[in-house]
Structures are given as C-alpha cells and as structure tokens.
C-alpha cells in the first residue's frame, strides 16, 4: 500500500448501510453484527432471513459430512443472450467470481443427524437463485445418484424462478426436475423440500412444491406470481401476509413451519419415522 492515499470523494458503501441491517419484514434496524449473530433471524418479528448455501450446509449437515458433487456442471449460454446491460456470459461469470459458486444450487452427499442423504441447497445470491440448465442438470443427476445409492433427497430452495437469460431451456428445467423427482419418489425414496425465503415462480411451480413433505421457515415468501403482477391483475391491494409461510400453511400447501434452530432435528426425525 502506498504511503499516500488520495482522499476519497464517495465511500463505496455509505457507512450507515455498512453497519446497520434492516429487517425486510418489520423494517426494524439493528447492527449488522447482531443480525449475523442471530443467524439472520429478526429478533423483533422472527423473520428467518436468507443464508448462503455454504452457511446453510454448515448448519444442517453433520460436521465434515458434506461431499460436494457436480461442481463442474455450470451455466450454459445456449442462446448467446444479451440485453440492455450487456451479455449473460459476462454477468454470470462475474457472479461466479463474486460468489465462488458455479451454479445456483450446491449439491452433494451429506448426513443429517446421522441419516445419509443427497443434499441440495440453493443460493439466492447466485443470480437470484434462478433455475438455469446447470441447476436442473445438478438436480437430475442428484436424483440418479440418490436412486443408485438409496439416499433420501433434501432440497432447500431459494429462488425468484426460471433464469430468463437461458430462455426456453430454463423453462424446460421445470419439467426435467419434476420428472426426475417423480422417478425418485416412485422408487420409494423420500424427498423433503424446504422452501426458504423466497421461493417463487418456476421453482415453486416445480421441484420445490413436490416434496413428500414441504416445510418452510417463519415468514418466508412463497408463491407463484409476483405480488405486483397480481395486484395489477385484480386491481386490489393484497394483505401483508399474502404468500407468507403462514398463509401457505393455512391454505394447505405446507406441512409445517419449522424454526431454523429445529430444522436439522426435524428432518432427521422424519427420516427416522420413514426408516431411512
């Protein structure tokens, strides 16, 4: 580092933003350190915030048990897609450099409370957790390996839906993953789907809603269409709790809302009920 640093006109991040976290549900402020220490859970309203795939794996998988698979299966730019802000390839490469992940789902073998499973965890920071061809391929391969080794499948979803930069082939991943999961379920293997904040669009409308059980965390956003699209369609304001975990449970689409601290034990308990 040089002895002389020019005075910075504008700091890259405003200090207030750097130090304070704001709960997206109840808007209460707290120091970022406190948010982190509380495992991204709001101490005021119990909203369970987003975790990176790696943090989630560390919390759910037994220590040292996670063995990552399919890391070489990454995105594919079948359409040579570009939009107003540039091309998809540069965008996704920048995401890979920043997140150190190569797709929106991290997949691998693991054990959860002593139960061997195939574990997939989506990372919302990878292009909004969007479902791309690489994501779909990882899930399809995970199903094949799980069937070969008789492992239950556990997927944590966090996604805004299909990745439009991959066009029609991203849409086709909805069918591909649903077919693979159907085959796994037909083979008598359990599939536990954990829908975390947020799980919407093409991901909620495919593998995320197909669990033998579907579980979620408090106040997670889960739905098909976006709130604004719906409001524009029906010309009405929607209630605050619309598309929340609690709303989904009340309407019969979620088996149980489980607190983050209890998730690992709950999954292990279900697997032991089912003899896995």
């Amino acid at each position: 580092m040089s002895w002389f640093e020019p005075k910075q006109e504008k700091p890259a991040i405003p200090p207030a933003k750097a130090l304070w976290a704001v709960c997206p549900k109840c808007k209460s402020h707290m120091p970022k350190e406190e948010w982190k220490a509380n495992n991204a859970i709001c101490p005021k309203c119990n909203y369970h915030g987003r975790l990176s795939a790696r943090d989630r794996i560390a919390q759910v998988a037994d220590e040292g048990s996670f063995e990552e698979l399919f890391r070489a299966v990454s995105y594919s730019d079948h359409l040579s897609f570009h939009d107003a802000s540039g091309d998809y390839k540069s965008k996704v490469e920048a995401t890979i450099a920043k997140t150190k992940e190569t797709e929106s789902i991290v997949m691998g073998k693991a054990s959860i409370g002593g139960h061997s499973v195939m574990l997939g965890v989506m990372d919302f920071s990878f292009m909004g957790g969007s479902l791309g061809t690489g994501t779909g391929e990882r899930i399809a391969r995970a199903c094949e390996t799980a069937m070969a080794e008789r492992r239950p499948l556990v997927i944590f979803s966090a996604s805004g839906g299909a990745r439009m930069h991959e066009g029609i082939l991203s849409l086709m991943q909805m069918a591909k993953t649903s077919a693979a999961i159907g085959k796994l379920k037909d083979a008598g293997l359990p599939y536990i789907s954990v829908l975390t904040d947020p799980t919407t669009g093409g991901v909620s409308a495919s593998y995320a809603m197909l669990g033998d059980i579907n579980i979620t965390e408090p106040k997670a956003l889960i739905g098909f269409a976006g709130r604004r699209v719906i409001e524009n369609t029906i010309h009405q304001k929607l209630p605050d709790d619309f598309q929340s975990a609690e709303y989904l449970e009340k309407h019969g689409f979620i088996d149980k809302i489980v607190e983050r601290k209890d998730l690992k034990a709950f999954i292990a308990k279900m697997l032991s009920y089912w003899g896995f």
């Binding site: 439009m164 082939l169 849409l171 069918a175 159907g182 409308a205 098909f224 719906i230 309407h251």
Partner: protein, 282 residues
C-alpha cells in the same frame, strides 16, 4: 431421431421465405382471428365429448378436456380455451388457467391412462392466471404436480403448441412424447413484454426481448425443445383455418401412429430421456 431432422429441414425452408421477425410472430400467435381450440376441434375431430371439473372446487373454463375421435383414433383432448367473443374471453379468463384447470387436466389424463388412450394437448395461453384466488388454491403446486404427473402417464402424449406458449402455464400441459408447434406459434419462459420490463427496464423493448429469448418454432427446433414444425397457410393460420387444422391433423395422427408402436416401457424411457436431454451438456 427422424422427427428431429424433419424439424430442422422445415426450419430451413421457413427461414428462406420472407421471414417474419420474432415480434411479428408474437403478433400472429396472439391474433384474435387465429384458430383456437374450438376451431381446431371442429375441423379435426369427428366427435368431442367434453368432461367437466376437477372434483375439488371448480370447473375451470380456461382449460377444456374431453374425449374425441380424430381420424380413426380415439383420444383425450386437453387444451387452453381463450374464446372468440368478448363473452367467451371473459368466461375463459383469456386462456389463463387457475389451479383447478390443471387439476382437471391431471384427472382426465389419468383416466386416459387407465384405458391407454393417447392424449393430445393444444397449448395456447398467455400464462397461468396470476390472481389471489389462484395463489390461495395453490397455483405453484398445481403446475408442479402436472409436470410430475404428465411425465409419468403411461400412455402416448402428443403436444401441439398452436399459439402462445406462455411459460409455466403452457408447460403444465406440454410435457409429452412428441412436441409439435405451428410455424407462427411462440413458446417462451417469459412474455417479451415481461422480459423487456425487467432486463431492459422498458416494456417497449419487447421486440428486442422477443428476438433475444429465441421463442419461434425454428429456434425451438434448433434447441431440441420441439420435434416438428407444422406449416401454416401463407400469411398465417388465421387466413385459412381449414388448411391450418388439416396440417395439424396430419401431424398429430402421424405422431400417434408412431408412438402406439412403442411398448409402454420404451415410451416411458424415451419420454424421460427426452426431458433429461433438455439443456444437458458434458
């Protein structure tokens, strides 16, 4: 597969003629005068018995199902219903299906499977209905379940994309063994307007988005998403319903005849492999 070659050949032929842009085709696909489900049925089926309801809450008019005779084949027909008049548009919710419609499709699909009758689906929707009631009744679950169920139905499924293939709402009845697509139909993960709004931050950029998303029949044949392009009369299907429907009938009957030759386990293995190949790379 032979049908893939045919698709590529048709694609070449199509692009040699004065080629409409992707955006032109979006307009053609949405043309109110384009043949809709009722028009196709009138032209290609010698009879049709509609069956109603999901056995849960409702009979969704945006998705019609029933048994029909096409040529010498007895089949189940499922299709989006947009309607031709304003009253019909309203009744059919402009072809935007609620969860009840997909649940009706699954119920009838299982009935066709029971008697091993082929299923023919007609796809023409702007998308699944984005409404509060649709969410309350589980739009996401209904689409997801449809994908799982149709991937596993032990009977031949022929899909015809006739107009707008609008995202998940289209795909929910578009999993099958042969995917046919009319020359001017479009099929996309998101509407060009929706994509332009998000990635261009300007809905007026829809023609650019339509181009970038690769949503035409020729594009989809190249990507291996569809098996065959069904030619339309000069100027588009709206110019001559009879001719458009005759082409559809011919392609559907040919596909059914081919699929019926397969043993069920081979049919299922091929459908699974077809889905697994989507976007696969080494």
């Amino acid at each position: 597969m032979a049908s893939k070659k045919t698709a590529a050949k048709t694609a070449q032929k199509t692009s040699k003629a004065k080629a409409p842009t992707a955006w032109d085709r979006v307009q053609l696909a949405r043309d109110a005068k384009r043949p809709h489900l009722a028009d196709f049925l009138r032209e290609i089926a010698s009879d049709f018995e509609e069956l109603h309801g999901d056995r849960l809450v409702n009979d969704d008019r945006a998705l019609i199902g029933g048994f029909a005779t096409i040529g010498d084949e007895k089949v189940l027909v499922l299709g989006h219903h947009k309607g031709a008049t304003v009253e019909e548009n309203m009744e059919a919710n402009f072809g935007m299906v609620n969860p009840d419609g997909y649940r009706k499709a699954m119920r009838l699909g299982k009935l066709a499977e029971k008697f091993h009758l082929p299923i023919v689906t007609f796809v023409d929707t702007p998308g699944a209905y984005p409404g509060d009631t649709a969410e309350a009744r589980g739009q996401a679950e209904a689409i997801a379940k449809s994908l799982e169920v149709f991937a596993g139905l032990k009977t031949p499924i022929v899909v015809v994309v006739t107009g707008e293939g609008g995202s998940g709402g289209a795909l929910a009845i578009a999993v099958g063994d042969r995917i046919l697509m009319l020359e001017n139909a479009v099929y996309s993960v998101i509407s060009p307007e929706g994509c332009a709004g998000i990635l261009w931050r300007d809905g007026k950029a829809a023609p650019l988005a339509a181009e970038a998303l690769k949503i035409t029949a020729a594009d989809l044949a190249k990507l291996g998403v569809i098996d065959e392009i069904v030619p339309e009369p000069a100027g588009g299907a709206q110019k001559n319903h009879k001719l458009a429907a005759a082409n559809v009938k011919k392609a559907v009957l040919k596909a059914i005849k081919e699929l019926k030759k397969l043993a069920t386990e081979d049919l299922m293995a091929a459908r699974y492999e077809k889905l697994m190949k989507m976007g696969r790379f080494n």
